[in-house]
Each structure stands twice: as C-alpha cells, then as structure tokens.
C-alpha cells in the first residue's frame, strides 16, 4: 500500500495518508470487536 502511495504522492503526503489509512482500519477492527450480544459495550450504544 505504502509503495503504491509513493507512486502518486510525495513522501510526506504518502506518510500522512498511510497513517490515516492504518488508523481507520484499526478503528474499524476495534469498533467491530466492541459489538457483543447485540450492543456496543464500551461505546454504550
């Protein structure tokens, strides 16, 4: 992914984009892991 971004963007931009991308993925995993027995535990939804 990072090498792909480097093809189209300068290094600082690619660094920022990859950071946002990984952060988004980690949030998605944590968000999905929080959902148990029909409700979000830590988010209390």
């Amino acid at each position: 992914m990072y090498s792909w971004l480097l093809k189209y963007f300068r290094k600082p931009v690619a660094n920022l984009l990859i950071f946002i991308w990984y952060l988004l993925l980690i949030i998605l995993v944590l968000f999905a892991s929080d959902f148990q027995a029909g409700r979000f535990h830590y988010l209390q939804w």
């Binding site: 992914m1 990984y22 993925l25 980690i26 998605l28 995993v29 968000f31 999905a32 959902f35």
Partner: protein
C-alpha cells in the same frame, strides 16, 4: 479466532528471537516454538502429526516394503487415515477434531506424493519437522508446499519490507474477520434482512451474507497466516486472489482457496487423468475430494458434484457457444455479467452446505425460487 490471534501474537513476540539466532538455527527455532505452543494447546494433534510423520520417514528410510513401490503408496495413504476417521460422522460425534488436522494431513500427503514421483528427495526427519511445524499455517492453512518453504528458508534474511508487509497483512486480516465478516456479514446484513417484509429478498440477503462471511473469514485467516509468515521471513503462498472477480466457475476455483484447489489438481485430477484418460471423471473426483475435505457428509458430496458439473458446464459452453464466451471474457459489460453469474452460482450452491438435511435443502430452494 482467539487461537489464531494468539498464534499471531506468539509469532510477533518471537520475531526478535528468530532474527537474533544464527542462520543455521532459525528453522529449528521456528519448529521448536511451534512444538512448544502445540504441546500446551493441542498435544493430541501434535502427537498424531509426529506419529504419522515418523512412520512415513521410517518407511522412506528403511524401505520396509521392498516389493516395488508399495511403501511409497502407503506413505501417501497413511496421513489420510486419521483425517477420514475424525471427519466421518462417527468420529465427529465422539471426539474433537485435532487442531489443524485437515491442513497438516494434506501437507504430509503432498510430501509423500512428491517423493513417490521423484520430484523431491526423501526429506531428513529434521527438515520434515521444520516444514510441518510452522506455526503461522498450523490452524487454518494455507496448505503450502515443501519446495517453496525450503527455498524461502534458504533465502531467509532480514528485510524490513517483509516485516512491514507482514504487519499490514495482519491488519487486513483482522479487518476482514472482525469488521467485514463478523460485523457486516454476520450481524448487519442479516439484521437488515430480518427487517424487510419481502420474504424472497430476506432469503437472498441471507444467502449473500453467508457467502460474504465465508469469504471474509477464510481470506482474513489466510492474511493472518501470510502476514505472520512474513514476520518470520517466510513467504507463504497466496490462498485467495479476488475470487469474485472471476468471470466463470473454472476461473473461480483457480482463485478461491488456491492451496486446496491446486492440491486437488496435482494429487487427484492429474493422477486420475493419467490413469483413466477421462477428463470429466477426474474433474468430478477432484471436486469431490475438495468438498469432502471440508466435511465427510452427504451435503458436501452433493455440493462437490455440483461444483464439478458447473466447471464442466463452463468448459462445454466455451466450446459450444464461442461467441458467448468471447463476450463474457472480453467485453467489459460481459465481464461484469460473468462476475455476477459466478457470485450468484456460488452463493446459491452454498445453500446446500447451509442446509442440515434433504428436507431443509428442498425447503430453502422452494422458498427462494417458488
């Protein structure tokens, strides 16, 4: 999921150790870590694997059955015996299936078959154990091959790109399993399906969610295995290559669970083709083995035969209707029609797997189509 996550954590924590030990000891170190983990988590599985591996090695080494090549044939069949025993319904009802049995049995058959064909030399006990005791692929595959593993071992040297690629693959694996599989396909889509008033639409969404979940779970676990392998510096073969981008069922099976379908091609399809010279018989048998590998039951037999027939239909239509084949494979609109066709064919064939018996199966199809 928890066990595979634990395996990933163990691989991650032991990565500095693997890269600190001398080159000669790296493979033994990886096998040693796997041995220790399995002896705590699944001692029966470990014992079974080692017993079969040692028996195979003894037959290769001392050539107990000196009449012809019968010994080699026994080494090919030996790993399948515990697999058949545990996968039959009688076995499943009384005992838990040993951890990773389906995967390491097929790896053992692969090595035995290649030795039998003379493609690889009889492995030493140490190198055989190094190949079998590789933690990242122990639980949910892929069924990686010994020559590639040994090549990867020989070329093993620290590469930061491998390490970062491995971490990225592990993250993608968790997203596929946790978000796309467990959350989206197992919870959200079925919830939307239950809210709809249209019975047909509800069943359709459930079928799509079932297929999506199966894909994301399996592809996610493969990503975890490939990513963990990369942390240790070993390249494990890809198991999925965007299967739903396939435009026909033949291509689909070259992209879905590649390690298993290529195993069935190499060790069932080609040998049967060489023996009987009947392509269709060999194909149906290969798809049957592929299906029965999942579970030895009537529904998987039906599913396997249907998959074989769908491939047969693809090949026949390519010969009988060349214009349609060209449209599906070359025209952009045709390619998307082909992809939708493949997705729906596979999804609806999965209803067979999801049905408990013939009555449940006929009820599901009746609800969906009539």
């Amino acid at each position: 999921m928890k066990l595979q996550a634990l395996f990933v954590l163990i691989v991650f924590l032991t990565t500095p150790l693997i890269w600190r030990v001398p080159v000669f000891w790296k493979a033994n170190c990886m096998a040693g870590i796997t041995f220790l983990v399995l002896s705590f988590i699944a001692p029966l599985s470990l014992l079974l694997m080692l017993l079969v591996a040692i028996s195979q090695w003894l037959i290769w080494q001392f050539d107990f059955f000196q009449s012809g090549r019968i010994g080699y044939k026994i080494t090919c069949i030996l790993p399948l015996l515990p697999l058949v025993f545990y996968k039959t319904e009688a076995g499943v009802q009384h005992w838990l299936i040993p951890l990773g049995l389906s995967f390491y049995s097929f790896r053992q058959v692969h090595v035995a078959f290649e030795v039998y064909k003379g493609q690889i030399q009889k492995p030493s006990l140490a190198s055989y154990f190094q190949y079998l005791l590789f933690l990242p692929v122990m639980l949910i595959g892929p069924i990686h091959r010994m020559p590639e593993f040994k090549r990867s071992l020989r070329r093993m040297k620290w590469n930061a790109n491998y390490f970062s690629e491995g971490l990225e693959r592990i993250l993608y694996g968790f997203v596929k399993i946790k978000f796309l599989g467990n959350f989206l396909c197992s919870l959200e889509i079925p919830q939307i399906a239950h809210q709809t008033n249209h019975f047909w639409l509800r069943l359709y969404l459930e079928v799509v969610a079932f297929t999506g979940n199966a894909y994301f779970q399996f592809a996610g676990f493969s990503d975890l295995a490939i990513g963990s392998g990369l942390l240790w510096g070993i390249k494990v073969m890809e198991n999925f290559n965007a299967p739903f981008m396939a435009t026909n069922m033949q291509e689909f099976w070259q992209r879905w669970h590649i390690s298993l379908s290529s195993w069935c091609r190499d060790y069932v399809f080609y040998p049967l083709l060489a023996l009987g010279r009947n392509r269709w018989f060999a194909l149906i048998c290969a798809m049957l083995v592929l299906a029965l590998w999942h579970e030895i039951s009537f529904r998987y037999i039906v599913w396997g035969i249907i998959q074989g027939l769908l491939i047969l239909l693809t090949v026949t239509s390519r010969k009988k209707l060349p214009a349609l084949s060209v449209f599906i494979n070359q025209h952009p609109a045709g390619r998307w029609i082909g992809r939708l066709w493949v997705f729906h064919l596979f999804s609806f064939s999965c209803i067979i797997i999801g049905s408990e018996g013939i009555s449940s199966l006929s009820e599901n199809f009746k609800n969906l189509f009539f």
